[in-house]
Structure formats: structure tokens, C-alpha cells
Symmetry: C2
Subunit: 324 residues, 2 copies
């Protein structure tokens, strides 16, 4: 929620001119995006989003993110689509920072998702997994299994200061996940962060997916596990099995799960909860008190992790009978 | 540069529906406006700006501001124009705060104005003065002559802590202005804050005026004096007479000044410099160190005031010969 890089009208006009999108009509910094600076740009041919990449984004990853959005759009997935400039580049420079122009995606994220929304999200996730097939660039999941223990080690001595007994909870869970993590599941490009604020709707219809800046190659079913965590719990901490069922059935309407994926789901969900618990705990301890953006409370993911620890089968997430 | 009031999708959808502007397609908080929360709203009939009025705005003044924008638009002045809802109201409520929807004005403000821009601004200011004729609601200028000494009294003991000898400079100037303020000049609705960030251009053409939240009834020529201060000084503090000439001639191309207005211009310019010096000095002392928006340095207006103190005729602002 900030504009880190201020651009001048002359710089921006010349930047926009390089895209051949007509005359620059207006640009306004938008209060979204913690990591980057975003402007809504109107030209005589339509609205666009200009993103200026700030220091938290690895420049070497930008060809993956931008290339993926183009690849997905070409394969029928609705998402902001990079525009190429006169030199044929989808990545350029503005005010000395890497910058890209993407199409404006109409829609807005849903603050209180219903089971119907969850069904749409499951379907869109599977369509994204299909749409990502054949994408040539690869990116490892820096926040996958191998990244969790090193991240925990950074704040382990302070963990119990956040929540009593957080250290033994995380340490026991990392031991479990390292010993039981499923291998050999179908892999592909995953979104890895498909929370409600990254899915746009217009009315009851899903209008597209945004924010591919955690996308990477990993087990496809892990992406479903992230969504079960992000979409299917109520504010009071209870898992809503109606939403879980809708999400899983929505997914399977496009891409049925393998038996191995179904069996692995409780472990994948534990891993996904651990991943967000770890980053939230780290941010909780390391965000300056005067920062513009308050860190999210890690407690929410402690509760989710404990729920998944008690789950023994995908039926408890709502997918009881594959023939249904 | 902030979003103070977060609205939910359901609230906003129902708010937008009350205007009959088609379906809500998207809304994004914009990082503009220190005093209010602003969203860009796209509906199926076009883009709009939604403003939620925060506590610094007097609710009782809103009918003046919104009515003025409607009146000006009806009289050919291009500015954001309030939309009326199904009840015929241009002022409504959202998330418990007063809120209004206005048309989206394309264009963007010019960071480095040229003399040509100053000419357009002068012309647009005069057109606004003409367009404001006949507007029925009145609003006194809270930051006019009668408001300056009470504002100074709030920080007088600390004034010299900002700039050495600021207290005697302001006190002497207030004595001068109270004794010499011109009376009986043509009055009307003035913008009172027509700085570069409140004037939009597309290419070299002025596309409209925004931000009427200081507008009030006062001497029309005082509005020109504000613009001379805001548009015609260079970053090094020098007055640019070419820009002054362009601004004054632009103004006179629509509404020629009276002899009394010409004679009064140096005193009006001193008053305008004092007004912005006072508010900047007050904000300099009273803005919390951790505020999102840094206060503007009052020193700029000390220099401008000293310049005007040495001016004896409107010729020194560029209007040497009325026959030119």
C-alpha cells in the first residue's frame, strides 16, 4: 500500500509512447501492492497497470513472472497480460527501476468468500495448472520444503516469544514433514499464493487471477493445499467442509486428482500451513514497529496447522467419494 | 496519500447500484489525497472517482463543494462532476462516512510547468471565475485576511525555531496587510488552491481543474495572486516574469482586470504568500514525525514573501502594458 517510486510526467509519457498504445491520458498511483509500485494508466486505447519493481523482487525472476503471464494468457487463463514495447520487450526500465506494463484486469477480490466462490477458485486453479503446461522457464520454490527449516532457523530463539510453545510445534512439524513429504506427485507451474486478494470476481463470476510473484515449479496438489488454507476456514478458525468440497470439486471438474494426490492432501495441507506460519512468524518479529503495513498475526496459521494435524484423509476436506 | 476507510465489496456494490451507472467492474484505492480516501471505480458505463470524506473535511461544507463542481460543469468548466443517485442526491454515505461519486477527469498534473502551461492556467482560472457566477451557496474564506493572525497566534512562540527572525517577518507583514488590504475588489467564487497538482493537462492542453476543497467567496484577483506564487517561481526561488506575463495575459484573455485589481496585485501577492507561509509553518510544527505525509518546508514561502515585499507594481509580474 504505497508508491515507492515517483515518476515524472515526461518520463512516463515517453515510456508509454514506446508501447504504441496511443496517447497517455492519466496515471494514478494505487494503494495496493506491498512489494512494488503500481499505477493505473489510461491511454487512448484503454486502461493498463504499470508496475515498477522495487528492491524486494529479484530482477532475475522477472522473465519467469512476465513470461508466465503471457503464456497463461495465450492458453486461455484470464490474468493481467504483459504488453510488449516497440523493441518487443515485456520488461523495460523507468526511473532507473525495472518496469512492466500489463493489461488492466477488471474485477475485485471478495472479502467474504462463499462456497460458490471456492468452487470457481478450484476450477480456475486447475485451469491455471493446465495453462502452465509447456512454459519453458523454470523457477524453484524458494518457500518449499527445503526452504522451511532455514527460514525457521532465522527466528527459532524468539519463536516462543510470539506464541507459547511455538518452537516445539514448528520443530515437531518440520521433522514430520521432512520424513513424510510426498514425492513423485504431478508437478507443474503453481501460483503458490492464491489467496482471496489474488482472485478477481465481477458479480458471481471469476474474472481472473493476479499476482504471480510467488509462482514456481512444484507439486500441483500443493497449490490446492494452499487454497484450502486460504479459502476454506472461517474467521473463528473452523474449517468449512462445504467450501472445501466446492473447491476440490471445482478443481476436479478440470483436472481430476490422482490417488497419490488424494492420499497426500493432509500432509500437503500441513506443509502449506507451515509455510505461511513460518513467513508470518518471521515477519511478525522482523517488521519495524513504524512500518506502513502491519504484519499478519501468525496465530491464525497455528490454528490451521493444528487442524490439519488431526486430519487423516481428504474426505475431511470434503472430497468423500470420487464418484460423486 | 492514503486509504483511510476500507470499504467492502458488498457495501460498494450496493452504493454503486444506487447510481444506475451499470455494473461495478473494479475499484482500487489511489495514493492521492491527503485529506480524503479516494477510489478509482470502473463501472460498465465508465470510470469514476469515489471520495470518502474523512474527519478533516467539514461535512457542512460538502454541499458547497459538490454544488460548485456541478455549477461549474453546467457552465462549461471542465472538472470532476458529481453524479446524483436515484434519490437525486450528490452526497451519500458509505461505511458510515459522507461519500460522493464524481466523473473521472483524464489528464495529469505537470511537474515542471512552462510559460505555456501558465498561460493555460490563467485562462482556465478566469473561466472558472466566470463559471462560478450565479452559484447560490456562499462560503467564507477561512484562510483569508481575518484568519491569518489567529492562525499565527497558534504557533507564534515557536516561529523563530523554524527560521531565525520568522516571528518579526510575519508580525510586520500581518500589520502591513491589515492596514493595506484592498477593499471593494470584484468578488466571486475562487479556487484558492490552484497549485500545479490541481490542474490536469493532456499533452499541452489543459484538461480540467480539480480539488475545490478550499474554494470560497473572496476577491477574484486574490486567486490570481495565489497562482502567481504557485506557478511562476523557479526552484531556485527566482520569479519568472515570462511565466507571470503568460499567466496574467491568459487570465485577461477571458476577464480583463480592473485598474483597482492591477494596483492591488503586489499586496494580494504578499497576502497569498503569507497565507501559505502560515499554514506551512503551522504544519511544520504540528505534523507528527511519523506521519505518512511530510510537511512542506515553509522557507519557500519566506523567500516568495520577501520577493513580493520588493514589488511595487503589477508590471514586475509581467503585465507592463495593458494595450499589449
Amino acid at each position: 500500500m504505497a508508491v515507492y517510486t515517483e515518476v515524472s510526467d515526461a518520463e512516463l509519457a515517453s515510456f508509454i509512447a514506446s508501447y504504441g498504445l496511443g496517447e497517455l491520458l492519466s496515471f494514478k498511483g494505487i494503494a495496493e501492492g506491498v512489494e512494488n509500485t503500481n499505477y493505473i494508466v489510461h491511454t487512448s486505447t484503454g486502461p493498463f497497470i504499470l508496475t515498477i519493481y522495487e528492491k524486494r523482487v529479484e530482477v532475475s525472476d522477472l522473465p519467469f513472472y512476465l513470461g508466465l503471464m503471457e503464456h497463461l494468457a495465450e492458453n486461455g487463463v484470464t490474468c493481467p497480460t504483459p504488453v510488449r514495447n516497440a523493441e518487443g520487450e515485456n520488461l523495460s526500465q523507468l526511473s532507473g527501476r525495472p518496469a512492466a506494463l500489463v493489461t488492466f484486469l477488471e474485477g475485485f477480490w471478495v472479502r467474504q468468500p462463499t462456497a460458490a466462490h471456492c468452487g470457481h477458485v478450484g476450477r480456475a486453479l486447475a485451469e491455471m495448472h493446465r495453462g502452465g503446461e509447456g512454459f519453458a522457464i523454470r523457477r524453484a520454490n524458494a518457500l518449499g520444503l527445503n526452504g522451511w527449516r532455514p527460514l525457521y532457523d532465522k527466528f527459532a530463539p524468539d519463536a516462543n516469544g510470539i506464541v507459547p510453545d511455538l518452537a516445539p510445534l514448528i520443530e515437531g512439524e518440520l521433522d514430520y514433514l521432512e520424513a513424510n513429504w510426498p514425492r513423485g506427485l504431478p508437478e507443474g507451474v503453481i501460483h503458490a499464493d492464491l489467496f482471496p486478494d489474488n482472485v478477481f470476481f465481477i458479480g458471481d463470476e471469476l474474472s481472473g487471477l493476479i499476482d504471480f510473484y510467488f509462482a514456481c515449479n512444484d507439486a500441483l496438489a500443493y497449490d490446492i493445499a494452499v487454497c484450502l488454507n486460504a479459502w476454506c476456514f472461517e474467521k473463528d478458525g473452523a474449517f468449512n467442509i462445504t467450501k472445501g468440497r466446492a473447491l476440490l470439486r471445482g478443481y476436479e471438474s478440470v483436472r481430476p486428482l490422482t490417488d497419490a494426490e488424494r492420499t497426500a492432501m493432509p500432509t500437503l495441507a500441513r506443509g502449506a500451513a507451515t509455510r505461511f506460519l513460518l513467513t508470518r512468524a518471521y515477519d511478525w518479529l522482523n517488521t519495524p514497529k513504524d512500518a506502513l503495513v502491519s504484519p499478519k498475526n501468525p496465530m491464525e496459521y497455528v490454528r490451521k496447522l493444528r487442524f490439519h494435524q488431526g486430519v487423516s484423509s481428504i474426505a475431511e476436506y470434503g472430497l468423500g467419494d470420487s464418484a460423486q
